[in-house]
């Protein structure tokens, strides 16, 4: 890559005024570093992955509204976690966490268990119980 070929597209880094360092050769063939604000090719790849996450979040939201799974599943997707990661954050076995996805079992959960989940997600127990206040009836 030549120094003047280092892409300067508007990536997601630019928003926070962050640049990344690229290695490129100057006109004499000497290596030097150039700061880049992003490259369209990788922004597209990143967006593809973020879109997948959004789709999963939307699907889980529908499932929660339909009463098929508990809000824990929704918050898990929202925080880009999977069951094993969530279980290590709350310090419970993964099959217990999976059981808590069941809406009926979730409704019976004790306050201290709910607090554990809520603190991992950085929310209150009320928010955990009713994640969509407007659309929920």
């Amino acid at each position: 890559m030549k120094k003047d070929e280092v892409p300067q597209d508007n990536g997601s880094l630019a928003k926070k005024n962050v640049h990344e360092l690229c290695y490129a050769v100057d006109e004499n063939g000497q290596y030097t570093t150039v700061r880049s604000s992003g490259w369209e090719a990788k922004t597209l790849a990143l967006n593809e992955s973020l879109q997948l996450i959004d789709e999963r979040i939307a699907a889980t939201k529908q499932a929660v509204l339909a009463g098929a799974v508990s809000p824990i599943a929704y918050y898990m997707e929202l925080h880009r976690m999977d069951v094993s990661l969530l279980s290590s954050y709350v310090g419970m076995h993964r099959w217990l966490v999976k059981r808590h996805f069941h809406p009926k079992r979730f409704a019976k959960l004790k306050e201290n268990i709910l607090r554990k989940y809520a603190s991992v997600f950085g929310i209150s127990v009320e928010q955990l119980k009713s994640p969509f206040p407007q659309s929920d009836t």
Partner: protein, 331 residues
Amino acid sequence: MNIPFEHRQSAHCENGVISNLLNHRGVRISEPLAFGIGSGLFFTYLPFIKVNFAPGFSYRPMPGQIFRKLAKRLGIRVKHQRFSSPEKARTALEEKLSQGIPVGLQVGVYHLTYFPDEYRFHFNAHNLVVYGKEAGDYLISDPVMDYTTRLSEQELEQVRFAKGALAPKGHLYYLERLPEHYDLQRAIRKGIRQTCNDMLAPVPIVGVRAMRWVARNIRKWPTTIGVKKTNHYLGQLVRMQEEIGTGGGGFRFIYAAFLQEAATLLDMPILRQRSAEMTAIGDAWRDFALDISRIYKNRNPDADRYDKLAGQLATIAEREKQFFTQLRRDI
């Protein structure tokens, strides 16, 4: 506590932390040099491990390896500590800071407040340096950032005790003893030799053979797992290759910069030529990423595009095979 610490931005966090910590003690080792001596160039394909719903690809060795190898090859003693309690982890950190020693930390990315949201995945092998504490905030030199930042006590505890794969468990490290004399030339040769061996390793999941395996799978994926998943897998490949930290082209450009430095340090002009060849290979990787990204723009193009991508990757694998065979002979 505020230790005068020179923050220099780098492409990759691990090399950057090493380079900056050494620089603080007056040892001038550039990022490419640290990367090369630590045998940072790599390729691995782990189809049985799923990361973000796609197989694991990596253009670098396991986190921590580069540092460990560099330290061993230069005779630097590094003290590593892990903790079971956040309380002890904090006390140990502050003790070192009060002694005027900047401390390297392994942290999780997800809770790093100064990162853009798009980059906050559950990845636990990021590295940064703490060089002081001011008004309750830790002063942070994160080598991939342009500027130094701050984290509150609580924020730092959260990232030090992130959970999941490669959980840092409060992992901290600092330079304990530097050798009076170190043999840079020998270390460089060792580093290059190991990279050649890694890339030409006779196992299917590492080096050139792993690239060929990925190429074969790219041909198969559209029929076996469908186009949508294939695109996601390829996206993962691009992100691992180009995302923040690789310096472009899956570390190939950093390695080319290393070979250029090595040519001078070892007085071996042939390495300058190898550096130019590596740059050309890096450019081929960039083209590969660019062609993959076209998939996301153009929804219904020609049917044989996956075959073309596979062909491209197979060609790169062949070029790297020849490259490292020659490099092994040079050293």
